[in-house]
């Protein structure tokens, strides 16, 4: 199947990254630290997981193209219909309970289908990986369903398929999670499996060795994919080696070889604690019944103090430079441009959400309009702010036809400068309406709703957060947008990563004069 645009990746990834409703066109690639759920999806053939929010400043108006209605259009209105006011969205209420051991429980009733979604959010992720053990958080999470309670890896997989449930585990930068999607008719058995996996993982040595070998092979295969290389090189260029966000989420060859079973068990024992966790339950359930069942299954989970995660200060950005990684023969250049953005706790959340949506957060955003719909340089371009516990990266991105790498870079830079000027009122209004009216769609299914609650669980947002979401966007002014654009996007201090065919792109990239060009070898993995 071929499609018009690549849609932003699955909401499930948004949950893993804890970035639902953060102002990004799509979850960053590091969101995929979640372990692939089934063998059939693990072939890596679908590597074009690129995303584009794609969108456009509407530059083209062609009133002269309009014609009078012709005979066969009698009765056909020549102007679009006036729309009524949208219906207000009633966000389903969240019921909150807290177990004596500190486990917080958030329940939402949704009775359309006899199914339920559960997400156990643990408020620590790969930020806590020691520098010589990067990949520890994600490897730990991927071992949960390799042995737990009385079941081995095959027995867990058998039970999962037999019940017809989806069980997945993963870690992002600032969270780890265990998720379950199950028909309520089988909820008791499914919950028992879920609790085993979350509370009684056995971390069998032979499965650790198996997953280690798989990861080492994945690191070899990484060299095949320009976009994946760019997604590794770019954070390192922005954050350096000392800050966790500059390191690879799933580790390097050296750290993958170094991780021991004791490291894994230690990570689990330290951070997977009820007082560091929130359990989200959404579906065809009753809150009292859920609380009773969860109390029975999770009540004995032992509370323990969880160490705070600290990180070195992120480096300050140097003058704009182009880091070129050679991928001989590449048909497209993978371009990543950006710097350090903001934490999720920023007071500028809504202005940034609006500003980024104008710049590169929807199909009609400026980057997509310019690079795709005006110039045809790419299948999609966009931008995102990865808001995490600590400030994550701001990234503009696109996969660019090799011969137009320099021209595309010039257009990227043009838009990154232009967003610092006043955004016209009609463009601002379009964007704000778009964002406000996305909300109903974000609450459609049980899985959608569970994903929307993840940021509440992770970043201590109030339970009625979404009741005030629309007003938060409404309050954003032209001046707000300009202020945050100028504050957070500095065209003279950007890291630009290009992974492409060096022989053909280097001379023209140098000629752009956008910044010093530095060659960098393929990351040694």
């Amino acid at each position: 199947m071929s499609a018009r645009v690549l849609l932003p990746a699955l909401v499930a990834l948004a949950a893993a990254a804890g970035c639902a409703h953060s102002p990004q066109a799509a979850p960053p690639p590091d969101a995929s630290g979640a372990r692939t759920a089934t063998p059939t999806t693990s072939t890596g053939r679908d590597s074009a997981a690129a995303r584009d929010g794609a969108a456009t400043r509407d530059t083209v108006a062609a009133p002269s193209l309009r014609r009078a209605a012709v005979a066969d259009t009698v009765g056909f209105p020549t102007r679009p219909p006036e729309l009524p006011e949208p219906k207000p969205l009633t966000v389903p209420p969240v019921v909150e309970r807290t177990l004596p051991n500190g486990l917080r429980l958030l329940v939402v009733e949704h009775h359309e289908l006899p199914v339920a979604d559960l997400v156990l959010v643990v408020r620590t992720g790969a930020e806590a990986d020691p520098a010589d053990r990067t990949g520890l958080a994600t490897l730990t999470a991927s071992l949960f369903d390799e042995g737990a309670g009385g079941r081995d890896a095959l027995a867990i997989a058998d039970q999962e398929a037999y019940l017809g449930v989806d069980l997945s585990t993963g870690s992002g930068w600032d969270l780890s999670s265990v998720s379950l999607h199950a028909p309520t008719a089988r909820l008791d058995s499914a919950l028992a499996l879920f609790a085993d996996v979350a509370l009684r993982p056995t971390f069998p040595a032979k499965e650790l060795e198996r997953l280690r070998a798989e990861r080492l092979t994945q690191l070899v295969q990484l060299r095949d994919r320009g976009p994946a290389i760019a997604d590794r090189v770019f954070p390192a260029a922005v954050f350096g080696d000392e800050h966790p966000y500059g390191r690879p989420l799933t580790g390097t060859e050296a750290t993958t070889r170094a991780i021991t079973g004791a490291d894994v068990r230690g990570f689990y024992e330290r951070y997977y604690r009820p007082n560091n966790a929130v359990l989200i339950v959404v579906g065809d359930v009753q809150p009292d019944d859920v609380a009773r069942r969860v109390g029975a299954l999770f009540g004995d989970w032992e509370r323990r103090d969880v160490p705070a995660v600290t990180a070195a200060a992120a480096p300050s950005a140097g003058p704009t430079r182009i880091i070129l990684v050679d991928k001989p023969g590449a048909a497209q250049s993978s371009v990543r441009i950006g710097g350090i953005g903001v934490a999720r706790s920023t007071r500028d959340y809504f202005p940034l959400l609006v500003m980024n949506t104008v710049l590169g957060g929807s199909f009609t955003s400026r980057l997509n309009q310019n690079l795709r719909e005006t110039h045809g340089y790419t299948y999609g371009a966009g931008s995102s702010f990865s808001m995490r516990r600590m400030p994550g990266p701001f990234t503009a991105r696109g996969e660019i036809v090799a011969a137009k790498t320099d021209s595309a870079l010039i257009e990227f830079m043009r838009e990154l400068r232009a967003i610092r000027d006043t955004v016209p009122q009609d463009e601002l209004q379009k964007t704000k309406r778009y964002l406000q009216l996305q909300l109903p769609g974000d609450f459609e299914t049980t899985g959608d709703i569970a994903n929307q609650l993840v940021p509440i669980a992770l970043y201590d947002l109030p339970l009625d957060y979404y009741d005030h979401y629309s007003a938060g966007i409404a309050a954003v002014t032209q001046a707000d947008v300009q202020r945050v654009a100028r504050q957070y996007i500095d065209p003279s201090h950007l890291a630009i990563v290009v992974v492409g065919d060096r022989a053909s792109v280097e001379p023209t990239l140098r000629a752009t004069g956008i910044g010093e060009l530095v060659r960098q070898p393929l990351p040694k993995e």
Binding site: T73, L113, A157, Y434
Partner: protein
């Protein structure tokens, strides 16, 4: 994007009954969530399918045109999909760029997709925006050509070429699919090329092609529109009549190209050098059409071979021997034909030939001894769960209604579809394995550059 291994939204179409999730003895189709619908056809031939669901203030519009890459001619491969892109470039009453701006301003998202068999266009949105989506769909169905011009074609040609680069040319193993299709189907068969088409053919497409294709295939009598979600049927009928009613019926749709019966006369071995670190081996057999009597059993066979950690191939090659990095099995069935495929990537230190020998051993075991009840149950329950997931959104429901309507002639086919899977027995799975996987196959080995010696050259037993 690549051609889906199975047609995407409909992949493994299995109706789910929660009652069926009880292991043991499912009753045919029982418990499949009903999708109550109403359908009618305008005098110009446009079929309308409506399904009300007021649980959330959302609605989806999904227009299917019954044309895909399966209607293309050699020399114009990829054209159906290129045309899909051009449909977003505005129409008589919609200036270039306004299609998306107007929809986004109303909170709507939209997209389109092309397969071998059909092209769809869809919007999902807060329910108040429904008349806008209908009006926009009507304008491009009835009034596309007055403002069609060369720049629109040229711009989207560049975009689609980049889509091909992003999905095929700049992706490891990306050219495997088109290489296999060309070997599996004879050159005159429209499934012998991939939906995305070739760069040369995309370059060759002309404005006259665009106009001819629109006049031939984009007529109300070659389309159906499904609307699912929060709406009032009276309002929707009034809008549809007003917006679509004046679009004239098109000429009779040309019949699908007559396709020869496909046979792979003997085992065929191909090699493709690519910029990859590890080789990968693809075994592909001729399969069946969608909804063929053996279609569901082949789906179950694919799951039993490589659908989960306990599946035959995954467990032996990846989990136990750890000789393979990954393995997949798929049954792809479409309107004119289908195929069954197994793909394995050996780990460093292992060879494609070794992988194929292991695959053949597992196929031999399965055809000799059959499968057990637990394997069958895992497959069924997983398919049932996936079906429920597809019906969770209003767009999912709209697309299922169109899919069934087009493929089997009635939107309301979920229960019968579920029954197909309920009826699969262990003996069926063994039988289809014998019948289809013992035929000659096409074996493609993708190898790192300069490593043609790794090519599989015989069906190792």
């Amino acid at each position: 994007m690549k051609r889906a291994r199975r047609i995407a939204p409909q992949a493994a179409v299995v109706a789910a009954a929660l009652a069926l999730l009880a292991p043991g003895r499912p009753a045919a189709g029982q418990g499949v969530p009903a999708i109550p619908y109403e359908t009618f056809t305008l005098p110009n031939g446009l079929q309308v399918i409506l399904h009300e669901d007021h649980s959330v203030p959302l609605v989806a519009v999904d227009v299917w045109y019954h044309v895909g890459s399966g209607d293309e001619q050699r020399g114009r491969t990829g054209f159906a999909h290129l045309f899909e892109h051009i449909m977003f470039m505005g129409s008589q009453h919609v200036p270039v760029g306004s299609f998306d701006v107007w929809l986004e301003s109303a909170g709507a998202n939209n997209n389109g997709s092309t397969t071998q068999d059909r092209t769809n266009y869809y919007e999902w949105m807060p329910s108040h925006a429904l008349p806008l989506a209908l009006w926009l769909e009507a304008d491009r169905m009835g009034h596309l050509l007055p403002t069609m011009d060369q720049p629109k074609l040229d711009l989207q040609r560049d975009v689609v070429k980049n889509e091909r680069r992003q999905g095929v040319d700049n992706v490891p193993y990306g050219r495997a699919d088109e290489t296999i299709l060309a070997a599996l189907f004879p050159p005159e068969h429209p499934y012998s090329w991939d939906v995305i088409g070739s760069m040369a053919d995309l370059s060759a497409a002309t404005l006259a092609d665009v106009q001819g294709f629109f006049r031939t295939y984009y007529a109300p009598n070659n389309a159906s529109i499904a609307i699912a979600g929060d709406f009032r049927p009276d309002s929707v009928k009034a809008w549809i009549t007003r917006y679509f009613g004046g679009i004239p019926r098109g000429p009779t749709i040309p019949p699908r190209p007559t396709v020869p019966e496909v046979r792979v006369p003997r085992d065929t071995f191909l090699v493709l050098e690519d910029r990859v670190q590890l080789p990968r081996v693809y075994d592909t057999w001729h399969g069946v059409k969608a909804f063929h009597a053996d279609d569901a059993a082949l789906d179950v066979l694919a799951y039993v071979l490589a659908g989960d950690k306990n599946s035959r191939l995954y467990r032996r090659l990846v989990y136990e021997l750890q000789a393979a990095q990954d393995v997949s099995a798929s049954n792809w069935s479409a309107r004119l034909d289908g195929m069954f495929q197994i793909v394995v990537t050996p780990k460093p230190g292992h060879t494609p030939t070794e992988m194929q020998r292991l695959v053949n051993e597992e196929i031999a075991k399965l055809t000799r001894d059959g499968i057990d009840a637990r394997e069958l149950e895992r497959a069924r329950n997983t398919f049932q769960s996936r079906m429920l997931s597809r019906l969770a959104s209003v767009f999912g429901k709209a697309d299922q209604l169109n899919y069934y309507d087009y493929f089997v002639g009635t939107p309301d086919y979920a229960r019968q579809d579920a029954a197909r899977y309920d009826a699969v027995t262990a003996a069926d799975v063994q039988r289809v394995a014998r019948q289809y996987l013992r035929q000659p196959r096409v074996t493609l080995t993708v190898v790192p550059q300069g490593r043609r010696s790794l090519m599989v050259t015989g069906v190792a037993q």
